[in-house]
Chain length 212, copies 2
Amino acid sequence: MLSTTPRTTLGREKHRGSTDMNDLYEVLDTGLICHLGVVVNGCPIVVPTGYGRIGDILYLHGSTGARSLRAADGAEVCVTVTHLDGVVLARSVFNHSVNYRSAMVYGRARLVTDPGERMDGLRALSEQLAPGQWEYARQPSAKELAATAVLALSLEEASVKIRRGGPNDEEADHALPIWAGVLPLITTWGEPEPDAALPEGVETPVHILRRE
Amino acid sequence: MLSTTPRTTLGREKHRGSTDMNDLYEVLDTGLICHLGVVVNGCPIVVPTGYGRIGDILYLHGSTGARSLRAADGAEVCVTVTHLDGVVLARSVFNHSVNYRSAMVYGRARLVTDPGERMDGLRALSEQLAPGQWEYARQPSAKELAATAVLALSLEEASVKIRRGGPNDEEADHALPIWAGVLPLITTWGEPEPDAALPEGVETPVHILRRE
């Protein structure tokens, strides 16, 4: 069960909310980037960034020099992951909508200092963005690790919203001779584009070629 | 030229920054949703929502009852639009990255009260999400208009970051027998899915069928 704190309790469109942890995991695990919100000098900053999940902890990372990361350490943050699945075309402009799956996680971010947890978090981040690459590519050196800050955020306070299906038109609009329905948005992987400097004979590994 | 205030001046990866207004327009005009950051009780909230642009003003809208909209009125907000174009697979885990185009707009949101500007803003929002639908679908009634809040945000303070191309590996890693390159992410429109309640003979209009 997801939490029901004031900020995770939906004020509107309650029917689109889910309190199922599995919905939260599904939205998070199928995403590539999140939008991280932090407050700097009283103003919000929203930064797109990578993330990974282990159990009920979300991991974020960045350069130790990044402003957004420095602002997030120990501070209240909001991490939002959104999948846009289609545009909902209604008979009225007002009832247009989008089909989406979205998760919002709130809480105080914690700078991870334990070396083991840092490695686990970085592996989760790497595997989220590029599954199979942690084992396949060269792993981080001590110098690279030192340049990377890892933040942890508990999933304790989170909400999920999902909209699926066709338009919710007014009954009176149904008779109008106006097309209505959904225009799905489809995201797929293209053909891998090899780096120009690749030595001859290095084949594209299956986990990249067949990524789903 | 984009602004060069402290928060729009990139602290890191300056080479990925653009100061060309046309890059800003391009990133905004090709997006479908933004992530709106507001501060509520000192904590950041990041909400996915629609937007539209007219000249150097961004329009946002929502139910007059939405918490995020109420928090944004007259307050500092951050609107971020991100396009994810691919995953950059490097020879080292550390140099993995993503190709993206991202715009961040900062400023104080203004509640639009002028009826003409409200209509223009709503049309821009509608056309951003579903081009051609403002003219095609039933336009808003007085009651629907009254339920909708429209916010304006100037593009005066904005930054754009763009990453394109292959991995930036360490020179020493180039000899490794590890595949490197880009796995492109492609977003396309699927086949329109007609609403079940559609009267017979209502054809899918060309602007939906042939959307680019």
